[in-house]
Subunit: 111 residues, 2 copies
Amino acid sequence: MNIDAYDCGSVKHLSTLFKLLAEPNRLKILCSLGLECRPVSDIIESTELSQTNVSFHLRALREAGLVKPERKGAFIYYCLPDPELLRLLGDFRQWLEEHQKEKLLKKNMKK
Amino acid sequence: MNIDAYDCGSVKHLSTLFKLLAEPNRLKILCSLGLECRPVSDIIESTELSQTNVSFHLRALREAGLVKPERKGAFIYYCLPDPELLRLLGDFRQWLEEHQKEKLLKKNMKK
DNA sequence: CAATCATATGCGTCAATATTCATATGCGTA
DNA sequence: TACGCATATGAATATTGACGCATATGATTG
């Protein structure tokens, strides 16, 4: 690997994390949770996904520790154990917005 | 969508970005570039991937605007148009390290 | 122009992942 | 206990994405 290559740490672990975040419905779920804890039924309603599908994605997020389940009676509430993740998502979102402005700018300038 | 749901902006665009970053070899390429501009042959050498494969991933990154090609004679140099992306990767990496110490991502790591 | 080097692209294949349907499990209440 | 609601899981299918091979394109040099 090249001398001044940037150290991304464990590429494998990073990509595992990104893979989880790369699924639109999983992102939707994370965003619909926000900083609150919500029962699965809420998530199903706000994301408009099938129960099976929500459960499937929640499992992936849960096993990765990105969401934490907590039983309350018949319901299971899910929440983010670390809201810092939302900040990171926000950073990316902001970068993306700026980045796309530039891209549009370049496109328009060429014509 | 719920009232206090977190606004992740366009989930579709975000997930497209994460999908690009979720591929280990693409991450490798980005990291091997670092802040420098390098010809494809360099990338092939430092990542130890096949020429076809590097070209394949470079195309994806290029079309998303994550890398920028620049012809110099027979060579095509690639670089990050915005080094800020490396900072974001670094943030994630750091977040990951802190959470690794706890119990996060335990199952996905074994692979 | 021919030969060669650097890089890109079309195509086929294979593996991984998302989605649905049907069904199971766990909890609260009558 | 039996029943209904909330959530999870297994099997089957559909979709996506990575990779290699062969070949094409575009630039350099003789």
